[in-house]
Symmetry: C2
Subunit: 506 residues, 2 copies
Amino acid sequence: MSQGIDPRTAEPVGDPIPDHTADEVNACVDRAAEVAGWLAATSNSTRAAMLRAVASAIRDNETDLVALADAETALGEQRLVGELARTAAQLDLFAGVIEEGAFCEATIDHADPAAVPPHGDLRRMLVPLGPVAVFAASNFPFAFSVLGGDTASALAAGCPVVVKAHPSHPGLSNRVAKVAREALAQAGAPTDLLQVVHGYEAGRILVTHPAITAVGFTGSVKGGRALFDLASGRDDPIPFYGELGSINPVVITQAALAQRSDQIAAGLVGSFTLGTGQFCTKPGLIFAPDDQAFAEAVAEKAQAVDLGPMLDARIHSAYQEGVEALCKVPGVAPVLTPEAASGPGYHARPAVLTVSAKDFRANARALTEECFGPVTVIVSYQDTAELTGALSEIAGSLTGTIHAEPGDPAAAEVLDVLRKRAGRIIFNGWPTGVAVTWSQHHGGPWPATTSVLHTSVGATAIRRWLRPVTYQDAPDELLPQELQEANPLGIPRRVDGVLQPGSPQR
Amino acid sequence: MSQGIDPRTAEPVGDPIPDHTADEVNACVDRAAEVAGWLAATSNSTRAAMLRAVASAIRDNETDLVALADAETALGEQRLVGELARTAAQLDLFAGVIEEGAFCEATIDHADPAAVPPHGDLRRMLVPLGPVAVFAASNFPFAFSVLGGDTASALAAGCPVVVKAHPSHPGLSNRVAKVAREALAQAGAPTDLLQVVHGYEAGRILVTHPAITAVGFTGSVKGGRALFDLASGRDDPIPFYGELGSINPVVITQAALAQRSDQIAAGLVGSFTLGTGQFCTKPGLIFAPDDQAFAEAVAEKAQAVDLGPMLDARIHSAYQEGVEALCKVPGVAPVLTPEAASGPGYHARPAVLTVSAKDFRANARALTEECFGPVTVIVSYQDTAELTGALSEIAGSLTGTIHAEPGDPAAAEVLDVLRKRAGRIIFNGWPTGVAVTWSQHHGGPWPATTSVLHTSVGATAIRRWLRPVTYQDAPDELLPQELQEANPLGIPRRVDGVLQPGSPQR
């Protein structure tokens, strides 16, 4: 059973929502499989229209949806309005991606008897995998939930989606699904292209169901690993795209700190307390020159921030235990220890800890695990050698950030270390705030993501739900339009090794 | 210990080659990790020159290499000369792929404060993973071995390679590595970009070594599954690209059989006996209209084929056991049972079996497992409904083939069933013979390959060894050339959502 809870008061919101039984989950997947053929056969323009209809529907229901989201998450109206807009824009982006058509990687090699070895006519494109499962996250009730990037990219690819709802916003999950399914029906599409199930066991059933062809997941290392192991352990293993945990190192060079210490302190506090620190890109480790004044400035600014409550009771207690554990690591000194927050809800206070680079290296395992919430650890270093030595202790991360000055000699060296460990490198900015664009990458070496090759944000997220098929010597009339000789859709293609730009028909 | 054996005589070829010890394997990986930074920092043109130097070197050593390959595999000079040429051409193809530059997917979004949400300057490209392990196959001693497609694409991507040699051509493996390493040295590259290890345990060590970032494998379902489980079970799971087993269904429609029964029988025999049936794309299941005369024609032609010996003792005995097991499946009737082959080597005779579609469905599990060697099973069907019902029992396969006539009503229906199960669909041809082109796909749903998203043959095979990195607001001078504003390499890029063709500088 899932029960929406107001994090401000710990009081229930709405009625309890029963878990789906195994039979119900299986029936959902069967229905998804039944509509998979219909969806795979749709044109890119039909799917684009569907995505835009769903985007419009959530915009049209903004007031209602934001109010319910705020009741269940306490993330605040302003943030949630922005997140809903971003979620709708993401659906629109994928509509544009499939209309443009390069995403299917249409590639044609005409027959060549002179090649080594000789070959016939070969035509390759990407086609949808089939029904997929998506595990929603707690911290983005719109953008990484029922209609988030995983769902948007999977529907764009042509894969029906069964979402495992996150239990911390169960009412919103059902409400968003209802809005989306109504929009699908009005657009002439089967409503079962998008379904939502509730319950822990429902998730396990999804991952092991024979008709599920891939899984998208955003959540904890522990939960993600367990599901990854289930997906990999199937008789027929399926791709599992999990975004698990990220420490998001930030490096501040000597020159940058000398130049703009105050600005950096303010930016850091804004970033690590944003959304009460409940971002996967929260900067959790700050490598800064040894400077107690900087640490104190960060602590002072953090203390002044008015934080919203945390998302749910589990996250709230995990944060408090996490900070306690960090404080017990040898060499860690708190500059700002969280006071006990008052009131009945899941309120939390920020924490700022410091540790020397030497102690960090000696306790790297404990200090490089993500602690979800408004805590950051400042690692103080003496010189660049100590800095890069400490940085090399970090495993994979979604992001790495460099604050450096123009011509800064440390920048290239730090970049070299971070690039091996992070999927996105930010210069003179902050990792929170993940733009949804063609060039975005949201992923990184383990444990940031289970698949280092794929992103969960940005246009190329669609690649996760597609597999290649090559047609050899196929009659033109049996080929998909994307591969027909005349290129009726005007999509970009590679023909006999040469990229040909598209000629949009719309 | 590995010992080359002449399959024609079962006599040893060359000296025994000791297995690498754990320390030796670890030292190889350490050396690969040491040169990984050098390789990742090379320009595309430097790596292209390296690949071409290696290609030239194996062409220059053709006589010597083919003689040694023939002594260890008995595949015959003509076939091996062709395979060496294909292997060299494959290295050249990847040189061209990286010179052209689209493979790195350079994508630039300039800062856009008006976007939802606003974003900074974002630039994405693919970068090499790091050292990788490649498991060579028995049946292509050049094209899927030390310098095969996995190695060529990994080096092109910028990843050092440690090859686990196949024990059925150990002397050739060392000889090819020596030629390649000398060519690398002459091209000014570190020789440890390519290393070879021997021994079963060496393979396990490679897959679990912390510095190995991905694995390419071609071999059996059992061996591949065990290594896939090791790779997935690591504390930090790594991608495992295994090509395991494939039954390669062929469908002959009523119209096609009526039109050209003899031609189809001849083509089928040529394909299923090619290389003594030791191709991953060997047609193992032939769905044909119920016609005993066709089956007998196939058997008659097969009996007349002069087969070379099989590759090694294990494959030889597995083939004989596999045919015996198939013959015991209820409903299976042999049309051509292999006679015992005479002589001391690993000689084998072809087998042609038949079964009704009904009995096939009742025993699908036993009949859809690959039997490596010159055996094919003809499944006779009465009508299209029985045909598609039987086809739906097949799991994933590398290929699916359709023999149909122009306007054949069955073609589209069969295509629809096969496309879900196979990575390459061949019309009126045969699945053996895998061209190395931009549009090739060699992969398929489990158990054809462990990753349904990736290919082991063709230009896009390079994608397996690359991961995305996005730079946010990076100074131009710290960006790789591929992402610098001026596009100094003239590679194709997507800028602000629009594909821009390259302007080759060479």
